[in-house]
């Protein structure tokens, strides 16, 4: 009885666990950074170049800044030749980033196909930042989590270091 019950149930759970994320991904319903990239890829028929070993780079950035900067995601779209409608792009990003993110800056210029969107989300002591910048035929998308206090400490450290170097020269 037990085996008859648990084996089919296990198979069903496994199937759901494997297929649902795949179906959701295929439908472009994933959110966050990857969701935004997928939507842009689908909408504008472009391919994002993801930076290899980004997780490692993010880890190094976090260590170097003592946790000032973390969870770095970077992607680049080259040959972005289609004109981007500011309103549509803004809606798409807002929709995919989901709740909690609010837009801080929006700059749109139809001359030269320029778009800049900066979204922010409070993450406790940290702040998540999402930046999308389209300039001509190139679009850069960056997401990062920043701890202003720790980052300031790191910047201050290098400022003092620069000051010492200038004094010695």
């Amino acid at each position: 009885m037990n085996r008859r019950f648990w084996i089919p149930l296990g198979c069903a759970v496994l199937s759901v666990a494997v297929f649902v994320p795949w179906v959701v991904r295929a439908a472009g319903a994933e959110g966050g950074f990857d969701g935004v990239l997928s939507s842009i890829e689908q909408q504008y028929h472009v391919r994002a170049t993801r930076i290899p070993f980004m997780n490692l780079a993010s880890l190094i950035a976090g260590t170097a800044t003592h946790g000032g900067v973390g969870q770095v995601h970077i992607a680049e779209f080259e040959h972005f030749t289609r004109p981007a409608d500011g309103e549509e792009l803004n809606r798409m990003v807002q929709e995919k980033l989901g709740q909690g993110w609010s837009r801080m800056i929006r700059e749109t210029s139809r001359q030269g196909n320029e778009q800049t969107l900066i979204f922010a989300r409070p993450e406790g002591n940290r702040m998540g930042l999402f930046i999308l910048d389209l300039d001509g035929n190139e679009m850069d998308v960056v997401q990062v989590s920043v701890d202003p206090d720790r980052l300031n400490d790191t910047i201050d450290k290098y400022k003092h270091h620069d000051g010492d170097l200038n004094e010695s020269n």
């Binding site: 700059e107 749109t108 001359q111 702040m127 300031n152």
Partner: protein
Amino acid sequence: MRRRMVVWILATAIAGAPALAQTSLQLLPPQLEKDLAAKATNVSEVTLDKNMLGFAAKFMNGSDKDEAGVRQLIESLDGIYVRDYEFDKEGEYSMEDVERQCLAFVAPGWSPIVHDRERKNGEISDVMVKLVNGEPHGMFILSAEPKDLSIVLIMGPIRMDQLGMLKGIGGLGALGNAEKDKPSKHKGDQKPTDGGQP
């Protein structure tokens, strides 16, 4: 059990409603904002609520005298909202419509300090201040030209002599002139630029 759950859900929704309302301060009605953005050639929108300002303030070095002043100012503010639209041709937006909707938003409790209408050039300027116990707790600026529209809303306690400190924030560059234009003790009496009362 089910009733308790329904009560809990309702209580959560009621508790969350003011928070949602607080974060959804709109400088312009959403539809008007969309229409303006759709027609404008260049759009600049800055939305910094108290959370964002607090975050931005953290990046300012407290040991630097100037930055410490800006930090203090920014931390005390409740929000900075800027909308700037540039149009290719004249008549792409209704100046009267924008003026009516903006003034309806700020009208209660706000006092006009500048109300300028230049019929010849089709330009309008409005500066309004929200006074709480005689102290300015908000400033609203509307500047409309046939091909250019700028709206600025600064919420929170602000002193006029500190306005120039905000020039570094996108869309508020013109406030840098406020410092230069500050009346000096050596100069004679300066007449206000007030164009009259509405």
